[in-house]
Symmetry: C2
Subunit: 249 residues, 2 copies
């Protein structure tokens, strides 16, 4: 008889109202990941607070939420800035991605069926978006696909970790001009990988995944460096903000 209540409890999170800080963070997150707030931009407490009609305290709380997600960096007595993702960051992200997604692949045989279904679903969404040339949506679906790969492991913390990485990757995507050039080559390989997973070929899947991620990393890093040089050649020397210290702990 408790089954009904358990099912409801699973949706419990949905009805918890969002605090003002969370709503503010959501707005800022959208602006950042969609490139409307350029990396390096300083987010003034006063200006933003006025624009969004929230107090500085609330705004500062929103900043901390975004700092969690690594979308902004906070420098003491200087303020918060939209994160500037450097090629080294992207390389690092892919190192962690490889570890997490590999964990997913390796857990394949003990995975819940719906985890595999999520994989195929994300893949379908990506291809539907490709068909109509909506490359931004393709990028989103691609991220969801890889989140699903890591999700095979069925670990809440792995899921959270991947979600963070994907949020960071959006920053990289926003810094690359052509979304199509970025995603098109990898759609087919997503297909390949899914096939291997659905037929249970763990070892082959792991090999494909490794080479996939290495290739993707190289593509993005190259796109970023090219883009960076052309940008700095055009002027706009947006003083590369230092890659932060994280002196928190």
């Amino acid at each position: 008889m408790t089954g009904v209540f358990d099912a409801l409890a699973a949706d419990r999170g949905r009805l918890e109202r969002a605090s003002a800080a969370q709503r503010v963070a959501e707005v800022l997150r959208d602006h950042i990941t969609e490139g409307r707030l350029a990396p390096g931009t300083r987010l003034s407490e006063e200006a933003l607070g006025e624009a969004l009609t929230v107090s500085r305290n609330t705004l500062r709380e929103a900043f901390r939420l975004l700092a969690d997600e690594r979308l902004v960096v906070h420098e003491l007595n200087r303020g918060v800035f939209v994160r500037i993702l450097e090629p080294a960051d992207v390389a690092d992200i892919y190192t962690l991605r490889l570890a997490l997604e590999t964990a997913g692949v390796r857990a394949l045989h003990s995975a819940a069926p719906e985890r595999l279904a999520a994989l195929r679903a994300a893949l379908d969404r990506a291809e539907a978006a490709e068909a109509i040339g909506d490359w931004v949506t393709v990028g989103t679906a691609d991220l969801h696909f890889h989140q699903a790969v890591a999700g095979i492991a069925g670990s809440r913390r792995i899921d959270e970790c991947m979600a963070r990485l994907m949020a960071e990757l959006r920053l990289a995507f926003a810094a690359v001009p052509s979304a199509r050039a970025l995603h098109a080559p990898f759609l087919r390989r997503n297909q390949t990988l899914t096939g291997l997973l659905e037929s249970g070929e763990i070892d082959d899947a792991e090999v494909e995944l490794t080479s996939y991620l290495n290739d993707a990393r190289a593509v993005i890093v190259r796109a970023m460096t090219e883009n960076a040089t052309t940008e700095s050649a055009m002027g706009e020397g947006a003083t590369a903000q230092r890659p932060m210290t994280d002196g928190a702990r």
Copy 2:
């Protein structure tokens, strides 16, 4: 010539003054990880603010920092509570640990030498502490050892991820009565693992690591459940979900 400056830059974080919120968070973190603040206790803004002589604003910011580290949980309109780690959490933590430490082992051949040295150093510290029966220090050194294992990968994000996990694990350690029973059996296996790594036997090391972590997880989960049942049998069957109202002195 930049070598000197790079070395200095590495220590840059050390001289950045800590904000009041960071100092408050540090105090609370120590109390929590050392078990002086029992899991489930509610951290009242007013009471704590008065005790530490900081304003609610600053205290709330410290709470956010601790929530980042998963040492406390924040419930809207209810306040923050010292995190209650459940057996399922521990199991989940070990799933992620396995992924991260495996990534370290696999990167062995392309690792910087000092990463391996850190491994041996942590091991030595653990054994020195064991010799004098200081099992709390043994636990700390053990955490550092495993952080070093994952650190072989040389990824900043993997390091941060592990640091978070280790902070969470401290919560589990604090919930287990006998630190000795917890750590003693695994010191020798740390030795074994280090030997395999130092001689470059990646595959064997990975096998040993996997079995090691599975065993450790089982030990901790069992210790936690046993402890929980004896505790609830001793009175106050707080449903393990909802922490008791107060209890903060």
